[in-house]
Symmetry: C2
């Protein structure tokens, strides 16, 4: 069991190399082990490219026969962009397969494992399964909830404000928290903010390391107020920007944005006249976006929580008191009996701040 | 050293028995040890009663000669309500004294230790000193800051509100947090709230266990709005209630309150027309109140933090979102650059809530 976990850990590490690139596919890593030695490794590099198992088998060459395959997600058993992995595994002479977690895709969902077992291969399932699900939570969300995973980040004062009365929010939280937030951007398919944040901060929403994968930058801009001078539509990554609008007008501006390489999505409005977030998330899924990291501000946060479209809440509580300021969830007013209920994880210190993860219950 | 800590721990445990009763004196415990055995124990029971050392010496009887005294605070060297302990210790034949912390009282402040050493007694200082200071932090505050120690408790939603828009706050926090708050009441000389809390909740502010010491219940009631029907001025503990008023009127009502056994303090007003909290704390110190546990609401919290009269902040963050509600610090409006700065301790889960202690910096 300890050895199983050791090799699966390596498979999960390999999987991470594909993070972002593989969406809407899951990230997957695979390791082939023979006589206690790694004889082959692979990961899913890019949507449409060979699967991790196939990479590992190729990498192992002649050593594949008699080896054990560790793979972070159940091998597929259907023709998609590539032929089914299960067939290749059976033909390769692999004698044992260890799987972290079942592929929830209805086209697989245990059928891959069944096919392997039917061919006489010994299969173990569930080694580091929680970690494997966590790393593919966007993919799981798409299959289970039919929408991208949404993490909402909040940087709050001790008394719950996201900015002072003048709107200033740079910086409420301490540097280690801000670095952690930037590091996380690479773990999502898209970073999302509202126009309030764009006007206030002119953010670029890029990861710290820009040499590899760059997540989409999604801006909820209901009436297409985005000025052309903003970084998000003028920097060298503008083809990674998606504006979500709900106006029926501004045809000309939409054309101009598209001419710049900026993506524009038009969605319905909700009964309050703002962007219908369910429709917006559905449209974003069409871009291959499985997971979204929402960084604010108040209107976006208020709408997301009203629609219960938050899978994880990340709250950074700074050691600061303002008394009055901009509230975290705009447009929301619940009585105590009808409050939105959360569940907190264990809190930690991060820099000078307190960091708490939570989920809606 | 390990043995020193073991016996000092016992002295600190004994000291706790006097908590509340000894104010404005410190709580003190003492243990006499001879040949690895406890031969005498004592604690300061009540303001004006014999000191812990004297109790322990009496308790040890003939065994005192040649023993080691463990005492949680430096023995006194002056005539106060009782004769100086140092003289009794020297006469008793105790050959060694271990002290947790120096008595900061200018009349002692190391002189007790010096007198013991001058008489040939070996003295060790600083065993569990931090814990000893913590347990007497009200006494230390009176000497070092010339005002009672103030702990402010806040029960907040995740978005920083102390109540919903209708004013309802029962219950924001979970039961374990509320039990912890009630348990803490016994550790303070007084519990303090404003009239908003009284009107809303009609609280009794009593500890869970009412068989022993009952802390004062202090109500900041600037224009003496307190109705006679409220528990605080009508229950069997009303002689432990102190109303702090800043009005020059309502002589008759003040007389009636006093006739009931309720204490009334009149203090100055500040420039905003509300109670001058510095003056109020000074007057409360006159009641022998060394430490105050403030349980709300927004106006009291806002005034305390404005005046920087908070020594410890206890924040309970409930897993609930309201969107809008009653803000924690009324009357305060700081820009981000001028925010009141705190320092957080390590956070913990408490029941369903997050519990964080902090201090003003």
């Amino acid at each position: 069991m300890v050895m199983h976990e050791k090799w699966m850990k390596r498979a999960l590490e390999l999987a991470e190399n594909g993070r972002g690139w593989t969406s809407p596919n899951p990230e997957v890593g695979a390791v082939l082990v023979k006589d206690g030695q790694i004889v082959g490794e692979g990961f899913h590099h890019l949507f449409g490219a060979p699967h991790a198992e196939i990479e590992a088998i190729r990498n192992a060459g002649e050593n594949v026969a008699g080896s054990t395959l560790y793979v972070s997600l159940e091998p597929c058993c259907y023709f998609g962009k590539t032929p089914p992995c299960v067939e290749t595994i059976i033909r390769s002479g692999i004698h044992e397969v260890v799987v972290a977690t079942i592929d929830p895709n209805p086209k697989v969902n245990g059928e891959g494992i069944r096919a392997l077992r039917n061919s006489g291969i010994s299969v173990t399932v569930g080694i580091l399964g929680g970690q494997a699900k966590e790393s593919n939570r966007g993919f799981f969300s798409m299959i289970q909830k039919n929408r991208p995973w949404v993490t909402l980040k909040l940087g709050l004062t001790a008394d719950g404000f996201i900015a002072d009365v003048t709107g200033k929010s740079r910086w409420i939280t301490s540097k280690p928290s801000r670095v952690y937030v930037k590091e996380q951007r690479l773990k999502y398919d898209a970073i999302m903010v509202g126009m309030g944040t764009v006007f206030k901060d002119d953010p670029s929403l890029l990861p710290e390391n820009r040499t590899g994968y760059i997540p989409y930058r999604v801006i909820l801009d209901d009436v297409l107020n985005m000025p052309f001078r903003m970084k998000l539509v003028s920097d060298e990554y503008k083809q990674r920007t998606v504006l979500v609008v709900s106006t029926g007008e501004k045809e000309e501006k939409i054309k101009q944005m598209k001419a710049l390489g900026v993506h524009v999505i038009r969605t319905e409005r909700n009964e309050l006249g703002w962007i219908d977030l369910n429709a917006a998330l559905e449209a974003l899924a069409g871009f291959g976006i499985n997971s979204i990291f929402c960084e604010g501000g108040g209107q976006v946060a208020g709408s997301l929580v009203s629609e219960r479209l938050i899978d994880e809440l990340q709250v950074f509580i700074a050691p600061k008191i303002l008394g009055t300021g901009i509230m975290a969830f705009s447009g929301l007013m619940k009585s105590l009996d009808e409050a939105i209920q959360l569940k907190w994880n264990e809190p930690v210190k991060m820099g000078e701040d307190i960091f708490i993860k939570g989920t809606l219950v």
